[in-house]
Symmetry: C2
Subunit: 354 residues, 2 copies
């Protein structure tokens, strides 16, 4: 575990923060990163500071090979800068332009232990299809994503045998929710023999992080009443601003489609329908508008009913709670992969490594 | 995972509750149990209700083969009934008398996937020595304990290569604390890049469970100021009652020697010295005298300091919080064992299975 050579696909908020948080954790060497137009590869380790400078404002969070994204995909993912001032990996000294960023990383697969896919999630099958391409190239390592939508899990399960054959250990939904909070729910459930409900409630204050996380905000909008994935993808930046203005910067979500439900069912904790996810996103303050809390209510073997709770401090940012766990799960998955354990895991099935 | 054939060594409070809680969980078949004087073995599954009736008041919690326990060990473990009314497995229709209960279970090792060692812990090397005997018999399965003392972990690590060679996956400290709360601390730590402190504070109300858990109470007394393992082991039941009376039934513990510290250090979360464990045990009420809480304080990658907390509902009994996780960790360890993953694990390294 002393040396994990990892790659990041995508340099939007999540990809960039993964590179940054990894510098604070032991045993992690970033050897490849890519975004829409560029790739940086260095087996001796990328210069993270220089990459972060170059990709600041790189709000087109994901690389999109021509065969992955429809012609309007660029704009849809919010990539307002890609034809303009050349922010992104191509602007970095370590980067070079490419039309096939993901394939360029796959070409280095032998040198990579783990790949974090910080890709735009508005097209559901994008991550499963990228996973398939790694499998087709006989990549035998870890793939990890921070996806949110329940329906993507099934797409990965459909491909599980192919991933196993290649020697891939895939961890899906390994951010905050799903991710840290899903794992916390599975652990908090251990006091009980039957789970009545799991309630996940999150608060995010995203004033200073807003520019860096426009992709995430767009994804969240798709969860609002009256919106769906297609309509959110087609909104212009101006329309998004208008929607946010209307609500004074605060978006409230009830019972979102979040993969915590299917991931907890997969882990045998409860039925997916017993899981509720909601929260408040405020893009006009950095303080969390509400405290992120997981409440697990169940019945004990001795007939009592109770609720165990996990609370994240309001001082911990969304970025800390997404990227810390993502790296913890990545490290845990590398252990599993090296032990010869392949297939699809959820965050309630692995203890993330510190 | 559909069928785990497990054994329990010891039918004190923890062993008995393990058998009971397992009846509420899927895929677990108890095939062997033993205590000081008896053993019950049935490959088709033991009748748990009948065993629980027979072992009620079986406060000598552990089997003690002649080579394991000094002549005074019986009394020391609190086994006031063993010369009297024959409570225990020998009183059960399924049980038979034996002078070598542990060896009798080891003789069936081929038929057993996992063994929970609910043995008296006042002799530190007892569990490591029993593990060694399973290894010597080439048992290739799971061993799990709910031990508490930090120093035992090192004794297990010293034997790790022998356990690996035999094909044993050992989970140590897999109850409540260490166990569930250690795992919760490791998970709560994921928001941070550096941990300042882990504080574990527990409350146990043990009025109606007192008779069943005298062994645990005696162990706890060894943590009080002015007491140690030897003096606690040598106390008579009358002396213990007097001590409890003096304190109006309430024992308060500060900074106990609990293995959460070394187990969190093992998992890379923090230094052992950053971990504090304390709590209140009240043997005159069933209500918890204080809420069991884990607080993890750390620094995020973006420079904030915060405290994530995990709280167990006051309605969840000690038994629910010890035996639920023990079974969860047992199930997780069987998965690891079947995947060919051997050695010593702590509760912060595995996600317990529900």
């Amino acid at each position: 575990m002393d040396d994990i050579r990892f790659a990041v696909l995508g340099t939007g908020g999540i990809g960039r923060r993964t590179l940054e948080v990894a510098t604070h954790r032991d045993g992690l060497t970033p050897v490849a990163a890519c975004d829409r137009n560029g790739v940086a590869i260095d087996g001796d380790g990328l210069d993270v500071d220089e990459l972060l400078d170059a990709t600041e404002g790189n709000i087109a969070s994901g690389p999109s090979d021509e065969r992955d994204v429809a012609p309007d995909g660029g704009a849809a993912a919010g990539g307002v800068k890609q034809h303009g001032e050349q922010a992104g990996i191509v602007a970095s000294d370590q980067g070079r332009e490419t039309e096939t960023p993901i394939d360029d990383v796959i070409a280095e697969a032998d040198e990579i232990d783990a790949v974090l896919m910080a890709l735009p999630n508005l097209e559901h099958d994008f991550i499963p299809r990228v996973a398939q391409r790694f499998a087709d190239a006989d990549y035998g390592g870890v793939l990890i994503d921070v996806l949110k939508r329940s329906r993507v899990i099934g797409m990965l399960e459909d491909r599980e045998q192919r991933l196993v054959d290649a020697g891939i250990t895939f961890v899906c939904g390994a951010g905050a929710t799903p991710g840290l909070l899903t794992g916390a729910a599975a652990l908090a459930a251990q006091s009980f023999v039957e789970i009545e409900s799991v309630d996940i409630w999150w608060g995010v204050g995203l004033k200073s992080g807003y520019e860096d996380n426009r992709g995430t905000v767009r994804e969240d909008i798709a969860h609002l009443d009256g919106y769906d994935i297609e309509s959110a993808r087609e909104m212009s930046e101006v329309e998004i601003e208008a929607l946010i203005d209307e609500r004074d910067g605060r978006l409230v979500f009830d019972d979102m489609e979040h993969a915590d439900d299917v991931l907890l069912e997969r882990a045998g904790v409860c039925d997916a329908e017993d899981v509720t996810v909601g929260g408040i996103l405020d893009v006009r303050q950095d303080e969390k508008p509400t405290t992120t809390t997981v409440s697990v209510t169940g019945r004990t073997f001795d007939g009592e009913t109770g609720t165990n709770t996990v609370r994240l401090d309001d001082a911990t940012s969304m970025e800390a709670n997404v990227n810390g766990p993502a790296i913890g799960y990545l490290k845990a998955a590398v252990s599993r992969n090296r032990a010869g354990d392949y297939g699809v895991y959820g965050p309630a099935e692995l203890m993330p490594t510190f």
